[in-house]
Each structure stands twice: as structure tokens, then as C-alpha cells.
């Protein structure tokens, strides 16, 4: 009897020690590996070219960190497919690399975990309505590629209130989502103008809208794209206006991690290709007409001259692939936010520099 008790104890010990040993082993392999040690101390070895691209080619699809709950930018349609403005920019990458826009996996990320997921390599690129700020660019170890959507914080009021500018909001009750940059922007701007107001905090955007519709608050604030998308769902959309003023700058665009310049360049130029295509007037419909064009600018863009794609490490025809499969910037914009959608969002800043916006692609040469 004593013996079996000992055996029982011994077995318990063994399992526990085994567990500890295994955990210890996992740690040992990291620190004992001299190459890994070099990696940690020498930042130069981190910038090894083509790491991300090689991984993606090996894997067969691009992992895009996205938002799955932002109307117009990223959501699931009834067929269970991700759709939206941000998702389409993820598809441009898949199209450029694999000639197949569906070769992506969308990893829904919350606002809190998005940067860690990017840093740890969980996702290849983060396209999740992420505002470009100096702090994020530097301290978080991320690189921001060209902005795909210039947003700004706005305020919605009832049109019968007679309010048309920020100054007239004196003493108003303004609803805002708690814990967001919009909350601090609101405070900053109103302090700047010396306007007193009553801030009403809510946990999520649905609650803000509910309170606004029921008349509990006089105005509410979030990014203008959000305001517009919400306006369409109010009982009487015509009875509300969005004030002209911008409370903040919100440039949103794809983000990659530090340390892989080749991948940074690929994301940058694939994104720019959609803008360049709009400027050249190339769409997914008429791209056939541009094949074999005389114009050297078009020829270089389409990969018929020069080796622009190869310089990036992808196919020379990457621009053709992007335009045929996903479309140019205008097509992407119109499909998700344009006049045919419930948002009917004015292009505003997000128009070509030739049309009064600030979208401008450096030359493809």
C-alpha cells in the first residue's frame, strides 16, 4: 500500500516536472541559438530583404489585418465574404502578387490588438482605418504607406436647431464614444475656441446614435465618414446636417511593420497604382484599350516597358492585375462609399489633385 502511494506521488511529480522541463526547453532553444541572439542585438539583420514577400509566396495568400465592423470599410456580407473599402485595398495586394484578388485572409482585429498583431507577424499588412500619427509611425515600429482615405472628425446636429458652425454649439450636449481620439479632439478644439459644452460619454456608436435620435443630446461627433454612414440610417436623414468644420485630421491607410523595406515598397506602390490608374483614366472596364498604348507613361505603368515590377520583386504586370481584378481608386471608392451606396460620400479631399482633392501619385518610372 505504501508502495503504490509512492508510485502515485512519483507519477504526479513526473508529469509536473515534465511540464516544467518542456517549458524550459522551449526557452532554451531561443537563447541557445546564436543566430537569434544576433538578430536581437543587430537591427540591420532585421531589414533582410523580402522576408515578408517570401513568406506570403510560400503561404499562398496575404493575411490582412482588417476591421469586420465598420460600415463601408470592412464587414461581412450575407454570403459570408468580407467587403468594404479597406478590404478592397487588401485585395489589390493579392491581385498584384498572385493574380487572384481572393488570395487573402482577413484577420479581424480590435483597435487594441492591431499593432501587436502587425509587430508579431500575425498579419502581413494592417488595413484597418488606422490614423497615421508620428507616435504610431515611430514608437510602434510601423511604416505608413500612402493614405487611402482622408477623414476628419465632424459634428452632426439637427437642421431645425439652426446651428451651422462650431461657435453656435455653446452650451450644447454633445455625445461622443468614450476612450477614442475623438473624445480628446473634441475637448481640444472646444477649448481652443473657448466654447463651453456638456460632454455625454457612451460606450459604443450605436448608443450615441440612439441617444441622438431620441433627442437626449443635441449633437454627436465621430469621423465624418462615420457620420455620413449613420445619417443614412436615421429616421429622417434630411433633418440632420454635418457641420463644415473638421475637428481633426484622420489620414487612414495601410500599415506595415518596420524592417522589411521591400514589402513596404510593394504595399506603397500597389496602393499608388490605383491612384495613378484613375489619373490615367484606366479602369477595369477599359483596360483592354490601353494595352499596347503609344504613351510611354501608360506603357511603363502597365509593365510593357521597363522592369518596375521586377524592381519590387513582383510581376511587371502588377498594375494590370490590380486594375483588372479590383479596379482603380475611383472604382473602389464608388463601389463602397460612392453615389450608388447608402453613404453617397462626397470625394472631398479624396479626389485627384487635378479635381480639387489631394490624391497624388508619384510617377511610375
Amino acid at each position: 500500500m505504501r508502495n503504490s502511494k509512492r508510485i502515485f506521488k512519483f507519477l504526479l511529480w513526473l508529469t509536473l516536472l515534465g511540464g516544467i522541463f518542456l517549458v524550459g526547453c522551449a526557452d532554451d532553444t531561443i537563447s541557445a541559438d546564436p543566430e537569434t541572439d544576433v538578430d536581437e542585438t543587430d537591427p540591420a539583420s532585421d531589414t533582410e530583404e523580402g522576408d515578408t514577400l517570401a513568406t506570403i509566396l510560400d503561404r499562398g495568400y496575404v493575411i490582412v489585418g482588417g476591421n469586420n465592423q465598420l460600415p463601408g470599410f470592412g464587414y461581412l456580407n450575407s454570403d459570408g465574404e468580407y467587403e468594404g473599402f479597406d478590404i478592397d485595398f487588401g485585395k489589390t495586394l493579392a491581385a498584384a502578387i498572385f493574380d487572384d484578388p481572393e488570395a487573402i485572409e482577413v484577420r479581424p482585429l480590435s483597435a487594441q490588438e492591431r499593432f501587436t498583431a502587425l509587430q508579431t507577424g500575425e498579419v502581413d499588412v494592417l488595413i484597418r482605418n488606422t490614423t497615421w500619427t508620428l507616435d504610431r509611425d515611430v514608437a510602434l515600429g510601423t511604416n505608413f504607406t500612402p493614405t487611402t482615405f482622408y477623414d476628419g472628425q465632424g459634428i452632426m446636429v439637427r437642421s431645425d436647431s439652426g446651428i451651422t458652425s462650431l461657435e453656435e454649439l455653446e452650451g450644447a450636449r454633445i455625445g461622443v464614444e468614450t476612450g477614442t481620439t475623438t473624445e480628446s479632439n473634441l475637448a481640444d478644439q472646444f477649448r481652443k475656441y473657448g466654447i463651453t459644452y456638456e460632454q455625454v460619454l457612451f460606450d459604443d456608436s450605436d448608443a450615441v446614435v440612439e441617444a441622438y435620435e431620441s433627442g437626449n443630446i443635441d449633437a454627436w461627433t465621430t469621423d465624418k465618414s462615420g457620420l455620413v454612414s449613420r445619417q443614412a440610417t436615421l429616421a429622417n436623414p434630411d433633418q440632420h446636417i454635418i457641420l463644415e468644420e473638421n475637428l481633426s485630421k484622420e489620414p487612414l491607410g495601410p500599415t506595415v511593420r518596420h524592417g522589411d523595406d521591400q514589402w513596404f515598397d510593394i504595399v506603397k506602390w500597389v496602393t499608388l497604382a490605383t491612384i495613378e490608374a484613375e489619373e490615367l483614366g484606366i479602369t477595369s472596364e477599359n483596360i483592354e484599350d490601353f494595352l499596347g498604348s503609344e504613351d510611354p507613361v501608360v506603357r511603363r505603368f502597365m509593365g510593357e516597358e521597363g522592369e518596375l515590377g521586377q524592381m519590387l520583386g513582383i510581376d511587371d504586370e502588377f498594375a494590370i492585375r490590380v486594375i483588372t481584378h479590383v479596379g482603380n481608386y475611383q472604382e473602389i471608392y464608388d463601389r463602397n462609399l460612392g453615389p450608388d451606396t447608402i453613404f453617397n460620400l462626397d470625394r472631398g479631399l479624396n479626389d485627384l489633385y487635378t479635381d480639387g482633392g489631394i490624391l497624388y501619385s508619384p510617377p511610375f518610372r
Binding site: 511529480w13 470592412g74 464587414y75 465574404e81 450605436d206
Partner: protein
């Protein structure tokens, strides 16, 4: 027997005259017996009626339930490819079959639960939004349930068949859903909706049970290393909120893993949930162990059982029986806690709801979506607590 008879006689002698079950009588005695009770009744009644009225008007006239019907597949299995849906149906068929067998063998609670299951199948068969192929599958499931019930009721040794059957069916179900190289693999990022919620809960509850028992035994052990390791583990995990564990599993774990080794993010959350539940399960089991009087240990010793035998055959069965209500309570709360994974980017039932309400076609329909998933959570959680009550009754827990 004679004692029982006497008791019955005694009860009959002092039994009050059976009350006449008129609703009006009951109301007059209980609701309108004094002036303040009358006032309270009227106030509470008015409140209930007004709440009920507004709720009903909303449910029946204002709410636009199309958002549920149009996205029903999403709510249930999420992005799982339509061409591979047969795999989920087959997996469900296996579970239904085992359910029927168990219902046939054990009757009682399992039978009641299979009534609930058939009701759910029936509702979906007649529901207008169910696709025709799904209706065929559902009818097949229903037939399967009835068929397997009779098998379970007829064949001998069916208790053993039950245990073996369930043990075999779980890997087969996982094989159907995941593929494991035999069927084409289906990436876990499309495991969404109710399916993911149920799988997370099932994995966490089933796996945490043995780990919890080991931890509880370890904590009561006299060996200091084992004891303090278990105490440390339990107290550490219990001191951390579940959401923190999920965050650590999702965000920090990849940082610690050696390069090249990646664990799928669904698996990471499953592991996190399991280790979390195990700590609580351990404390529940320890409570059960402490409820066993010393006499049991001594009696086991006198008939010559060694400690392992004592624990397995004498102590644990009694301890576990005593803690069934807490285990089920733990399971229900784990089932509901899985909704936290929506915060770390997994698309469970709540995650799907948040994604569906962001579809421009259904903007502003968030109330309908949330009411629907609340109802789904309630049906499942209530079925669990109902079965636990029945099991307690049939085992006579609390009547020892």
C-alpha cells in the same frame, strides 16, 4: 416500507383540505389581501403590462427581422464555405445519433433534452428562411434522432456503447470540421458564429475537467512542490480576468514562441479558455473533496484499498456527485464568457452579430441582431441549467 407507509398516513392525517385552484381565489388571497398589497399589485401590474406591450409592439411591428433570416447561415456557421457545409451537417448527424442513443439508454434528462433538440430542428424545418438543402439535412437529422433513440432503447450493453461512442465521435466530428489532411483542410479563420462559440465552450469545458481534477488533487497533496505549484497556478489564474488571458493568448503568446512556430489563433484562445476554466474547476472539485467525511477514507483503508483506489473509486465519485450544480454553473458561465473572444478578433456569435450589423444593407438593425443572439444564448444556457436540475434530482444530490 412500513416506515414509508406510516409517513404517508401521517401526511394524510395532517394534510390541509386541498385548496380549490381558482385563480380569482388565489389572487384575492395573495395579491389583493390588504390595501397596500392591492396598491403594489396594481403598480407592478401596470409596469409589467406597459413593458410587455412596448416590447411586443416592437417585436411584432417595428423590428425588421429580415436581417436575421438573410444572415442566418452567418450566425450559425459564419464563413464556413457553402460547398463544405455537408461536413458540418455530417458532424452534426454524428452528434445527433449519439444523442439519440443516449436518450434511448438513459431516458430521463437526455430524453427531455432530445425533445428540445427536435423542437429546434422542427422550427428550422418550417422556418421560411431555411434553404431547401438545409431542410433536407434537418429532416435527416430528425429521423436520425428518432431512429437512434430506438436503437439506444433496444440494444443491450448500451451504456458501454454510449461511453465508447461519445469518445469516438468527438475526434470524428473534429475531423469533419477541420479536415486534418484527410479531408481538404478548412482554415480556422472561417470557423465563426454559433459553431465557434459552441466549439470553444465544449473544448474548454471538456478539457478543463480532467486538468481541474488533477489540480484539485495536487492542491490537497501533502507533497510541498506539487501542492504549491497547484496553489500558485490556481491563485494566479483566478486572480486574472478572462479577458486578460485572452489578450495574452492572442497578443503576447506569439512574442514568446520561437520563430517559425506558430499556433493558430483559434487554438490559442481554446488553450487560454481551458487553462482559465481548469483553475475554477479545480476549486470546485476541491470543495467536493472537502465535503467527503474522514470516515470514508478510513473505511476505504480498512478494506485494504490503496490511495489511488481510494481516490478513484471512493472519494472522487462522491465528490464529483456533490458538485454537479457548481460544475454546470461553471459550464454555463464559460459558455457565455466565450463571447469575450469577439474583443480579441475572433468571430464568434457575438463577433458575427457585430459584423452583420455593420453591413450597409442592414445598418441600424443592431437591436434585432442583439435580441436574436441573446435569445440563442438563453436557449442554450437554459437547456444546460434545466438538465443540471434534472440530473441533481435523479441523483438525489442534496438529499443524502
Amino acid at each position: 416500507m412500513s416506515v414509508d407507509l406510516k409517513l404517508v398516513e401521517a401526511k394524510q392525517m395532517i394534510a390541509p383540505p386541498s385548496p380549490s385552484f381558482s385563480i380569482w381565489d388565489w389572487m384575492r388571497k395573495n395579491l389583493f389581501n390588504t390595501w397596500y398589497n392591492m396598491l403594489l399589485t396594481l403598480l407592478a401590474g401596470g409596469l409589467l403590462i406597459s413593458i410587455g406591450y412596448t416590447t411586443l409592439t416592437w417585436v411584432l411591428t417595428e423590428a425588421q427581422w429580415a436581417v436575421i433570416g438573410d444572415n442566418y447561415k452567418l450566425f450559425m456557421v459564419g464563413q464556413y464555405p457553402i460547398t463544405a457545409l455537408w461536413r458540418i451537417w455530417s458532424a452534426l448527424a454524428i452528434l445527433t445519433f449519439m444523442f439519440g442513443i443516449s436518450a434511448g439508454t438513459f431516458k430521463g434528462t437526455m430524453l427531455r433534452l432530445s425533445y428540445i433538440l427536435s423542437a429546434i430542428y422542427l422550427i428550422h424545418i418550417v422556418a421560411p428562411f431555411t434553404a431547401n438543402t438545409s431542410k433536407i439535412w434537418l429532416t435527416a437529422q430528425l429521423v436520425m434522432l428518432v431512429f437512434s433513440y430506438f436503437i439506444g432503447a433496444k440494444i443491450p450493453y448500451s451504456k458501454r456503447i454510449n461511453i465508447v461512442g461519445w469518445a469516438i465521435s468527438i475526434p470524428i466530428v473534429l475531423l469533419f470540421i477541420h479536415g486534418f489532411g484527410i479531408l481538404p483542410a478548412i482554415r480556422t479563420n472561417v470557423w465563426n458564429g454559433l459553431m465557434l462559440t459552441l466549439m470553444l465552450a465544449a473544448v474548454a469545458i471538456i478539457l478543463s475537467f480532467p486538468i481541474g481534477i488533477l489540480l484539485a488533487l495536487g492542491r490537497t497533496s501533502k507533497l510541498p512542490v506539487i501542492k504549491y505549484f497547484c496553489v500558485g497556478y490556481i491563485e494566479l489564474i483566478r486572480g486574472i480576468p478572462l479577458i486578460t488571458i485572452f489578450f495574452m493568448a492572442q497578443v503576447l503568446l506569439p512574442l514568446f514562441l520561437p520563430t517559425g512556430l506558430t499556433i493558430d489563433n483559434v487554438m490559442r484562445v481554446m488553450l487560454g479558455a481551458t487553462f482559465f476554466t481548469a483553475a475554477y474547476m479545480a476549486e470546485n472539485v476541491r470543495g467536493g473533496l472537502q465535503s467527503i467525511p474522514n470516515g470514508q477514507y478510513e473505511a476505504a483503508k480498512t478494506i485494504g484499498l490503496n490511495p489511488v483506489q481510494t481516490t478513484t473509486f471512493i472519494i472522487l465519485p462522491q465528490a464529483l456527485r456533490a458538485i454537479i450544480p457548481t460544475i454546470v454553473g461553471q459550464s454555463i458561465s464559460m459558455f457565455k464568457d466565450t463571447s469575450l473572444v469577439a474583443i480579441v478578433g475572433l468571430v464568434d456569435l457575438l463577433g458575427i452579430a457585430q459584423s452583420v450589423k455593420s453591413n450597409p444593407d442592414f445598418l441600424g438593425r443592431h437591436m434585432e441582431v442583439y435580441v436574436f443572439i441573446a435569445f440563442v444564448y438563453w436557449v442554450i444556457a437554459y437547456s444546460m441549467s434545466y438538465s443540471s436540475r434534472r440530473i441533481e434530482k435523479s441523483l438525489g444530490v442534496g438529499e443524502r
